[in-house]
């Protein structure tokens, strides 16, 4: 009972932080920018957060995190708008929404699809805010007992699991993680003061900023890739979206799907890897199985929109659990959030909850506030988003390019960062051409220095004995989990299923 009282006391304190005028404004700006980015295909959430990160440096930590979180789930909302109206997923997590969402739009029910996806997302957001509030404190308590060996093994597990759950070849995902770890070494070694991998360039002695790396791989590389195919004209399906008020019959039809989607998403979100994407696919598959009459799926069944949309929003929220409590990000976007915390001078990890309760609970409360804002704001603003969709890519990409230049320049007010971005953009494009996903690289890049430090400490404690990782039970458990998840993918039977689950995810 005391536990519950604590949680609610903390939540109320969090709401006190979140509804201050200042933070409401940050939340609003974040949601708006996030939705904008989500609506526009061709710029993903990682690039968006990286683009806007420099502008949050001058904000207080709480405000900065609230705004970035707003961008993050705003993008998840916006992605579905594009999926329904243009049949182009704004984000990879709304790929499934295209199937039934766009079919509904063709049948003249775009408004209903958008309304139910907003309601589903809001429900999922509400439930997951509570899930985070209840799951995070006990988890953080456990994590506080972790020593260096446990942390090292946890990171190994997190990285491997993210490779297992990532799209495409497992070996290449693992390779990209190592690439990220290597990039993370560039700079001055904190322990010896030695410059590593700097090629004698003084500018590299502080390492490469994660914003630069993220913009290069997710922004610049992506733009070059998009320009490969000159498909300038986008067909916006409807000029006028009507029926935005949800109908009772729709809500009744999709209530089950929303609840199931929420819990599926809530589960997948906590796992490392592409949580929201996998969650939306899983939810769609399950809805199709559960439905008594599934003949309408793919032709505009509202449950095929409600389930996946609730799931991807739920997963987007619960992805914060490992990031906030363990300091281990599960996805590219979460890696950036973690990086943002570090820039604000806050060491991520279980101690954040006790050392900065205002930040932790304020952020959680702001998630709910943000979800509410998105529902209230988004539906009336749909008309504006539709207009935005008509901006052709040839006018959009120079803007993104310029904002990336300015963003990287403003990191240190130096021209070195944009030049580095230009270079790594080429590297990122090359990797993309060889079928290597950039997300695992970003995870490795952020975790690299932490991994080296924990490895050093663990081996120091054990006097150089590497068995320390298998003799400590928690550490062993993580390593066993890591090995098991690798085995699961390598075994052919499961591998086939995994490929099926990703089918159509193009």
């Amino acid at each position: 009972m005391e536990f519950f009282n604590d949680i609610f006391g903390n939540l109320i304190m969090g709401f006190g932080v979140a509804v201050s005028l200042e933070n409401l404004v940050y939340c609003f700006v974040g949601c708006l920018l996030g939705t904008l980015v989500g609506v526009l295909p061709g710029i993903g959430p990682v690039a968006a957060i990286a683009l806007l990160l420099p502008t949050t440096f001058s904000l207080p930590p709480v405000g900065a995190m609230i705004m970035l979180a707003g961008i993050y789930y705003g993008a998840a909302y916006g992605g579905s708008t594009t999926a329904v109206l243009v049949n182009l997923p704004g984000e990879s997590s709304s790929v499934v929404t295209c199937l039934d969402g766009h079919a509904m739009a063709k049948n003249g029910r775009a408004g209903h699809a958008l309304a139910i996806s907003a309601i589903g997302s809001f429900f999922a957001g509400t439930v997951c805010t509570l899930i985070i509030a209840f799951a995070a404190p006990p988890l953080a308590e456990v994590a506080l007992k972790f020593g260096a060996p446990e942390y090292f093994s946890l990171m190994v597990f997190g990285l491997i699991a993210s490779a297992v759950l990532a799209r495409g070849s497992l070996m290449k995902a693992l390779g990209m993680i190592v690439v990220g770890l290597l990039f993370g070494i560039i700079g001055t070694d904190v322990n010896s003061g030695m410059s590593r991998f700097t090629f004698g360039l003084p500018g590299l002695s502080d390492g490469i900023g994660f914003v630069v790396i993220a913009m290069a791989f997710f922004g610049l590389g992506e733009i070059i890739k998009n320009l490969e195919t000159p498909n300038d004209e986008r067909q916006v399906f409807t000029d006028k979206v009507s029926g935005l008020m949800p109908r009772w019959v729709d809500v009744k039809d999709s209530a089950g799907a929303i609840v199931r989607g929420t819990f599926i998403g809530g589960f997948f979100g906590t796992l490392p890897g592409t949580g929201p994407v996998v969650a939306s696919f899983a939810s769609y598959a399950i809805e199709k199985k559960v439905a008594k009459d599934n003949s309408q799926f793919g032709k505009g069944d509202i449950r095929g929109v409600a389930g996946p949309e609730s799931a991807n929003n739920a997963a987007a929220q619960t992805a914060f659990i490992p990031t906030l409590t363990l300091g281990i990000p599960g996805s590219g976007t979460m890696a950036l959030m973690l990086g943002a915390l570090m820039i604000q001078g806050i060491a991520p990890g279980p101690q954040v909850m006790t050392s900065r309760p205002d930040l932790f609970w304020g952020l959680i409360a702001s998630m709910w506030v943000g979800n509410l804002m998105l529902v209230i704001l988004n539906l009336p603003l749909i008309g504006m988003w539709v207009q935005l969709l008509k901006v052709p890519y040839r006018m959009l990409f120079p803007a993104i390019l310029l904002f990336m230049c300015i963003g990287t320049y403003s990191l240190n007010n130096s021209i070195q960062d944009p030049l580095l971005m230009a270079f790594f953009g080429v590297v990122g494009y090359a990797f993309m051409k060889f079928g290597c996903e950039p997300a695992p690289m970003l995870l490795g890049f952020i975790l690299g220095p932490l991994m080296e430090e924990n490895l050093r400490r663990a081996l120091l404690i054990s006097r150089g004995d590497p068995t320390v990782f298998v003799t400590r039970p928690i550490s062993l458990a993580f390593l066993v989990l890591a090995a098991a998840s690798l085995l699961v993918v390598i075994l052919p039977a499961v591998r086939k299923k995994r490929d099926e689950a990703f089918q159509g995810d193009e």
Partner: protein, 178 residues
């Protein structure tokens, strides 16, 4: 399973090659860093082992391509050479110009260069885009967020414009409460 053969159209071959190259470079560069012992890891410990891990992964990824025909997704596709050259170049030119000639010219040159990758040249669109983006750069980033850009190559010329901008920007700044 195909026969053992070199498949230059297999993405995995090139991915493996890149991993191998990076790994080899890491190991090569790390030879100068003291390895230390496990108990007291030197600065070379982590990078050296990572380098070898990278080489191993590269060998596996690249090696597989010799035994298996690429699937439809794994076939190498043509590189977009023009955007690949122009996009980084336009970022670089912006970086090289910004501290000397200022925003007005740097943004223009950047846009022209980036736009060269678009097939049909649409001057009106380009000019509209330029004006909008320049305004955002000056009023949001330079004035609003305080990024220390020059507007022109000469401070006095830029100052007159930014003063005017500040005036126009005031109501918005008040609204933001900063």
């Amino acid at each position: 399973m195909g026969s053992f053969k070199f498949r230059s159209n297999h993405q995995d071959f090139w991915a493996g090659l890149m991993f191998l190259g990076l790994g080899a470079l890491a190991v090569y560069l790390s030879r100068d860093y003291p390895l230390g012992r496990a108990m007291r890891m030197g600065p070379g410990y982590f990078p050296t082992y990572l380098g070898w891990l990278m080489i191993t992964v590269g060998a596996i990824v690249g090696g597989r391509s010799f035994f298996k025909d690429p699937t439809e997704e794994e076939v190498t596709t043509k590189w977009a050479v023009v955007p690949l050259a122009l996009m980084p170049a336009s970022v670089a030119i912006f970086a090289l110009l910004i501290d000397t000639v200022g925003l007005v010219i740097a943004v223009a040159v950047m846009l022209l260069l980036a736009n060269a990758s678009v097939k049909n040249f649409r001057p009106v669109e380009l000019i509209v885009n330029y004006i909008v983006l320049l305004c955002i750069a000056i009023f949001v980033f330079q004035r609003g967020l305080g990024v220390p850009f020059h507007t022109f190559w000469e401070e006095s010329l830029g100052k007159a414009i930014t003063e005017l901008g500040a005036l126009l920007w005031t109501p918005f700044r008040l609204m933001m409460g900063s």
